[in-house]
Amino acid sequence: MLRYTLLRLLGAIPTLLLVIVLAFLMVHAAPGGPFDDERALPAEVAEKIEEAYHLDEPLPQQFMRYLSGLVRGDLGPSYGYRDRTVDEVIGFGFPVSLQLGALAMLLALVVGVGCGTVAALRQDSLLDRAVMAFAMTGISIPVFVVAPVLVLLLAVKLQWLPAGWSGETGAARYFLPVITLALPQIAYIARLTRASMIDVLSSDFIRTARAQGLGTKAIIRHHALKPAMLPVLSYMGPAIAAILTGSVVVEEVFGIPGLGQFFVRAALNRDYTLVLGIVIFYAALIILLNLIVDILYGVIDPRVRQR
């Protein structure tokens, strides 16, 4: 198991390296520079700035410099936030995004798996159809439509929840952004759980469990849930990526100072080091979480573990 984990970690290095190279090249290929403004800078000032940020060096040299910083965990200075490094910006923004993302994921899992299981047990009933109709809607409507609608309904009309983040302190401010982020995931996980639960419930070993008189609750809990969770587990990788990209929109809509918001601002401000830093940080995060998912797969399925 340990050997497997180490091998997989080593295997992730080329992937990450590729992401770094591509992201680096794309940022440098983008037209315009970080310090271009409507009013052109005096030539000597521009030269000084370029020298300070090593922008006058040839590209390979810049890349090696960036990479050597990266190895030490230094993502370099931010062009936009002049007094902060990229590390500091990520350190400030990520905890907020992490809270949102983790809460959304948790909500999606609990509600999605719950709804999917109930739908599978009452296959083709009215309840099943209702859950599936809701799921289809949840998948079809994008986050940037759901967010304003929820705000309009729950915050503006009914005034149950705060519409934004700033100025609020309590747990209430989490509700709308987390629900918005979780909604499409709830929908997808519910569909996935329903399908795989129906599949598992029709297998021979469930018939054995029924013949043993275990009853529905014990059958789901002890026999069916674990195998039915395998497809959901495989979906965790893409789900995490979807929640990360979703949080970019959600943070913008609700005015949350998370990493997603910094990312959007950085792109608009041509703060290339920050864009590059966040892209690489997210890529590493997604690779790591996918690795954890793969390892969990082995924990659930003993037959995978042996290989």
């Binding site: 021979d204 018939r207 054995t208 008189g213 275990l214 002890h222 026999h223 003993p302």
Partner: protein, 586 residues
Amino acid sequence: MSLLEVTELSVRYGEETVVDDLSFSVNSGESVGIVGESGSGKSQTALALLGLLPRNANLSGSIRLDGNELAGKSDEELDRVRARRIAMVFQDPAQALNPYLRVGRQLRQILLQHRLASGKAADVRVIDMLQRVGLPDPVRQFRAFPHELSGGMRQRVMIASALIAEPDLLVADEPTTALDVTVQAQILDLLETLRDSTALLLITHDLAIVAGRCERLLIFDAGKLIESGATTAVFSSPQMPKTKQLLAAAARLDTGPIPAPVSGETLLDIERLTVSYGKAAAQRLQAVTDVSLSLRTAETLAIVGESGSGKSSLVRALLGLVPPQSGAVVYAGSQLAGSLQARLSGQRRDLQLVFQDPVAALNPQMRVQKIVAEPLQVHERGLSSAKRRERVAAMLAKAGLDKSFLDRYPHQLSGGQAQRVGIARALILGPRILICDEAVAALDGSTREQVLELLKNLQRESGLSIIFISHDLAVVRSMSHRVAVMYLGRLLEVADNASLFSTPRHPYTKALLDAVPVPDPRRALQAPPLGGEAPSMLSPPRGCVFHPRCAYAKARCSEQRPELREFAGVRVACHRADEISLNARY
């Protein structure tokens, strides 16, 4: 009053009736056999008893246990009966046990659910039960996952799970169909000794299995109970034609003609063939070791062995699907290349294969016409499509299928028809050697007979040589001229059909013959079954590979590996072949 009273039970799916107006009873402690071919409604009846039919099934009639009605009861009410009063053993333990749960937990859950034990006491009771079903080292196996156990051990676990709540009635649905013949004997004996005062309803397609074990028989055909009575009476004077047919189709090693040996020239020579998988020496699995065999023109050579004996690996090496590690295959005087790609087109044409699962071996998206024509498209490209269709139709006719089958899809064929298509596909290029890998294992009694008859006819007409891989000794006896017995990748005995079945020379051959159940209640009492199971191929025993299970083993057998040598007209790999005398039961 009887324990179980079934009256006018019917099971319908829409318009289709699978169990029709069925009435029977089972007394306390009695053992009753239900016998019928696939599709006769026997499994549906078993599922109906426990309320396990699928939701779209329509059940009518009455099922009474100790006078209490079970039919139409809710799952919650039935849960108190399941396992506690009526327990079930299913056919395939690989599917019927939960692969994600440790064996101990699956058994423990039953005790907890029925409040029979809890905590440490439940664990103790589970381990005790595992011990009683003969699991070696039950404390360790408590923590094993099903895939870590052999097929026989898994079925023992299944039986343990059925008996742990001490039911009054045990329903065993084809409990040994998925198992090897020597293991089958062990499992049937285990069921008999363990059930004690529990009544047994043994469901099977094989009359031989119930012959010595059940007091009464119920014969099913097409959803109906057609005959019932004491086992001895049904065997001695069957009333219905279908019962007579079942009796005739039951595997017998003591009647029927044996093909005489053929004396043609040698067509195929297998010389010291060794096949192994895995590169690293420590993990290498030697599936076939040092096998030498020859096949004559128009001869049928059977290769017999239990699962894991290396039969299929031998076939794969013959066909060039896996290159042998050493040794050679010589066909018509020239050595065949190890890999299929390197063989000449003519050599590839001349060796063809018929598969075990007839329906799964056919592409579901192709019509029969295209399936059978495919080899022609590869090997005879010049053929016009009209000519090709003609050849296909002629070949199908030979295989016993008329023109109306040309445009059918595989799912529109019965098992027997699908296997005829498989045989037509294999023979359309006019090969000289046909390899049948368990080709009739998936077919029912009468269909099996017809396909075997077809193979024999084709051999008679065209002088075809057949390598017939099978675990079914009765089929081998009626089909083959010579028989080779394999165990753990090695040949233990090669003999003419007649001498192998009358005077086996190797103790393993004798054990295999003894393990075949006899469809005769008066003669069914048999020698104690071969103990243990075949060891892992990854660590074969030193000396003779069979010695750990052999009743005749001496010190020498565990030290020195016996060579395959000529003895009394047969080839046998046993140190003691000339000291011991083994006689078949017949």
